[in-house]
Amino acid sequence: MSEIPGNARTERRARLARAMADEGIDVLVVAGNPWRSDYLRFAADFTPVEGQAFAFIERERPARIIVEHPAEAARLRSEQAELAVSWSLSPIEETEAAIRELGARRIALGPLAAVPYRLAMGPLGASIAPATALLDRLMLRKSPSEIEAFRRAAALADEGYAVFREAARAGRPEYALVAEVEAFFRSRGCPENFQILGSGGREVRGMHPPMERRLAPGDLVTTELTPCVEGYYAQICRTLVLGEASEAQGRAFAVYNEALEAGIAAVRPGARARDVARAQNEVFRRHGLGDYVTSEYTRVRGHGLGLYVDGRPAVLEDVDLSLEPDMTLIVHPNTYHPEVGYFVHGDSVRVIPGGCEVLTRTPRRLFSVPLA
């Protein structure tokens, strides 16, 4: 059951309808699935749980939706009675036929990340790139109601991290920590979360889904957790140590904290994603850790957040995308440290005039969890 306020849904539909009119599009066919549900959520306020889904968005009429499972169709009808929902064992063929029935109207298909082969090979293939660009533009800068959802997700991320810290005790398996966090998120009405973690010492090179490894004294325990509120993801990254932090762990934290602060200070309208990456990486280079900001040891220095957990822009030194007010992203200088292992530290921010607003509020500390 969606608790999305009707005005947010209406607001997104109105923005999309205006953009479609500007581009001369009568019908926008939006593809999605549980992995790439973001565009569908934006266009039709629908998050598929299973199977393929397709939305036919018209400027002046409620959407038509085709899904793959009768249970998905039933729940969508109950969530949004105004939609025309059907299900099919062959939703791609059904969508293909529905596109044909639209005749000579101006139709576009997107997004690139979710369009299946069969539809892309059809008459709308050339429309995929421009339709995707249209949706990306709309989804990059958030509206006030989207910002509000993001703000609530960030607050939930803070609370979730407090639960994680409480759950992190020597002897517990990694998956038990995530179980406690998920139980907490569910208790707050949050159905979705992206979370990976790591535990151990210098041998740990990254994060992964929880495994059976049991936490041990002296471990660094890393996590990035990313709850979803009304479809919008916000993320926090922190590292804790089981017991007292060693001198090396303390020194490492100081570097990551400096890098995070430098990255956040670089976030402002007009700055480019590469500027934010460079600000963080320069800190590592100054500390003689320049090797550890390469793709051998890390992926990105942050990324966009919103309806997708790993959105644009990727914060990397070769990404030119300019930041604009009301873009939302995480800044995280997460990477391997040769003395202590993989280390994470990051906050969700909103770009505002002159700089950014940091929305996650958990103190920037190397948390120490008592062993007793």
Binding site: W35, R75, Y117, Y175, Q195, H208, P209, G231, Y297
Partner: protein, 361 residues
């Protein structure tokens, strides 16, 4: 995204079983004249690759490349740093970094040209265009054929290993149902308990759907936010354990369990046991039953491709697709009883011709 326990127990899923499954696919490939089969995986469509290799992507995408001989190769869009993790949870010959999966696949085919040249792709129609385009526009595009039916022909019936995993998944779900507090008033309270129980029991994933008040509406919903629980509500839990998915649905009454529900449960068992490979329809036995209530909806689902569960038959589709005896399937049934709706669901092993099906729990 997947965020439960992902690990590979060699005791629960021996490497030899995975190798046997790959060998079975390779035999079919040779018989069909395919020089390679490509199988896409994401957390939304993980099951074919997981069945062959035990690999489940928690996010991101990968493409499994299976030649007629040898171990499968995984082209993974994950960062190289994750490769050790991938190797630790799966049985693969080689893992290659492939940030651009489609281009990497085309390049890999050039490096190891398939012989014979025909290239099978599981669920070709559904392959993401970003992945498909470089392959289809390469010199190998003309040799691509759909391999969905070929894969489905080897996927079921389930082997003993898969049945044990399904039984464990079902046990996780049943334990979660047992953890429901008797006085639960809100959906958030209920779902929190279910998630905690299932994940602490080792679930790889749990997807709950809830009809919070059966007196108002029997639709099973994905809840965002909260809802007040009625006196009668229904919960569907889809649980994955080591990449094996089952679905169980239960009704809960905060008062004494209505006698009509006992009859409905008996009827569910009766209907489930009468299913077999020659009879994948519920209608005759349900409508012919002397028990009260009429069928509102039903589905039979199984795994035979990359989606965890796909529809085999429903009350709305006149022609069920074929499913061999011994297949792992899930039956979901909704009945309209005199005193309101009732929902039930459970996994089963489909009977062979003339043999009853066996419920897993």
């Amino acid at each position: 995204m997947r965020r439960g326990l992902i690990s590979w127990s060699r005791d629960e899923v021996p490497a030899s079983v995975l190798e046997g499954r790959v060998a079975s696919l390779q035999r079919q490939m040779r018989d069909s004249g395919l020089g390679v089969v490509l199988i896409y995986t994401s957390f939304a469509r993980p099951s074919a690759v997981a069945w062959l290799t035990h690999f489940v992507p928690y996010w991101n995408e990968a493409l499994l490349v299976v030649f007629p001989t040898g171990a499968p190769v995984l082209l993974a869009a994950f960062s190289k740093r994750v490769h050790d993790w991938i190797r630790s949870v799966s049985h693969l010959g080689e893992v290659r970094s492939a940030p651009d999966l489609g281009r990497a696949a085309a390049a890999f085919l050039k490096e190891r040209p398939p012989a014979p040249s025909r290239i099978g792709v599981l669920e070709l129609d559904a392959l993401p265009w970003l992945v498909a385009e470089p392959i289809m526009k390469s010199e190998y595009g003309g040799a691509v054929v759909d391999a969905t039916a070929l894969f489905a022909s080897i996927r079921q019936p389930a082997d003993e290993v898969e049945i044990r995993l399904a039984r464990r998944a079902a046990t996780i779900a049943v334990q979660a149902f047992k953890a429901i507090p008797t006085g639960a008033k809100r959906a958030s309270e209920l779902l929190s308990v279910l998630e905690r129980s299932a994940r602490l029991d080792g679930a790889e994933e749990v997807l709950p759907r809830l009809a919070p008040d059966l007196d108002a509406d029997a639709t099973l919903r994905r809840l965002e936010g909260d809802a007040i629980l009625g006196e009668r509500y229904a919960v569907e839990l889809s649980v994955a354990y080591k990449a094996t998915w089952i679905r169980i649905t239960r009704c809960v009454s905060t008062q004494a369990v209505p006698s009509s529900w006992r009859g409905a449960a008996d009827r569910f068992v009766e209907a489930a046991e009468r299913l077999n490979e020659a009879n994948l329809s519920l209608e005759p036995q349900v409508t012919g039953s002397v028990r009260p209530g009429k069928t509102a909806a039903w589905t039979i689902e199984t795994c035979r491709g990359s989606p965890p569960l796909s529809i085999v038959a429903t009350g709305e589709t006149p022609s069920p697709s074929a499913l061999p005896g011994g297949s792992l399937a899930c039956l979901s049934l909704q009945l309209d009883l005199d005193d309101g709706p009732w929902l039930g669901g459970a996994p089963l092993i489909l009977g062979s011709r003339g043999q009853p099906s066996r419920l897993l729990i």
